[in-house]
Subunit: 141 residues, 4 copies
């Protein structure tokens, strides 16, 4: 992936309606990694006041997916086929950082991991994802 | 759980700010199961136009969590410690239904599953979750 | 898969050196399902006398893998890319039965589940597996 | 855990009938980590000649479980409640090394990870495990 491809991809991620709705901010991207910033608001809380697991899942899914995208773009595209999360400890801050890393991007299968931490750097959650990878068709993506 | 406990819990789930934000509607709850309805909007789409995996993760996390809650409430409470999802096929409709089932609610550990389908009943995703269960303190929860 | 393909596949599974070592016995196979029988011996126990989780993982991996094999054989072949297990309750008998089911066998990705129970039918473990599927080369497989 | 506790635990793991049957050799243990060595034999192969996923699952389950054991022994004990594995690449050697790390050992829940590599250091599989942790009763364990 050239620098201009990377810049273009960053731009598309930043412009994503989903990221806006979910409250995710792309902090940085390299070929094979992506870091997102998130600040918990009242509507992100569960019935007992904690950060909703589904919100951490969004972070995990996005961080692993964009990391994989950056590793294979623009030649190939991917679909997430599996995601698992371990909730390790409650975040001590509203601000959360998630970093995804493409561990392996094969011709047909990809594997990525994400680490989610709070502001103090305490591990909040760990995630892993499996991807189906295929040739990218020009018109589709 | 008495009928009035169930009704109270349903009320709390329906009033949840998170559910409103996420666009989830509680369709029904019994002791140990919970069914949610969701309709995908443009901001729930990923970069390639599909339903975002994180949205399915919210559905999975909520359906399993509320199913477990209904199985153990009001005596005990739970925290999700692990969640895994398999994305089986793309939904053919904007409307999605997720049903969670508490498979086992032990004294310390719980296990629940969720099935997510589209309007035609085609399986979209399967999820499993592990919970830490504990005595519920009156003031907390 | 024709009946003779199924019979041939059953024969190969039964003759497998791995199955003999692991103590698995194929009880039955249809297109998309496979059932195995296992009896725990002293060397299958962990340090605290319970059935070793790795043994249940062998059962889960085999039941899901053979179920998927039976669903796609002989045209295609598969590789397991991901496996997750939930240990639900301790088996009350030495004899264990594991049934794998191919839930979806796509052109490139497959998904299967397994259910492991003890002699009384109590659920011991649930497993899910993701597969990479590809055309089968005559000389390989 | 004192040095003598660690030495005693190492001795018990090495004497385990299961480890002998499975062909695992404990290479080293510290408080919170455990490394195992394994050499694949013909009966560890699957129908297509690769290392059986169930064998990697044994390595993953053992490495994570013993790492957790070393982190909490002798005060507390654990039971594995969930295990997930990602098969990243085929090992290029018969010899495999698995290292487990206890990432978090709470009062009731533990989380550990394992990394399995071949002789050249290439990542073969990644695993995560969730544990229920409890006080250890003198007579039990």
């Amino acid at each position: 992936m050239s620098d201009s491809d990377l810049a273009e991809l960053e731009e598309r991620v930043r412009a994503s309606e989903f990221q806006g709705w979910a409250g995710l901010e792309l902090m940085g991207m390299t070929r094979g990694t992506a870091t997102f910033d998130f600040t918990a608001l009242p509507h992100h809380r569960n019935l007992v006041g904690g950060l909703h697991g589904g919100v951490l899942a969004i972070l995990a899914d996005t961080a692993t997916g964009v990391a994989m995208h950056s590793a294979i773009y623009p030649e190939r595209t991917h679909v997430t086929v599996q995601l698992d999360l371990h909730f390790v400890s409650k975040p001590a801050s509203d601000r959360i950082v998630a970093t995804g890393t493409a561990v392996r991007a094969g011709r047909r299968i990809g594997y990525a991991e994400a680490e989610i931490s709070d502001e103090a750097g305490t591990l909040v959650a760990r995630a892993s994802a499996t991807f189906a990878i295929s040739e990218r068709r020009r018109e589709g993506d």
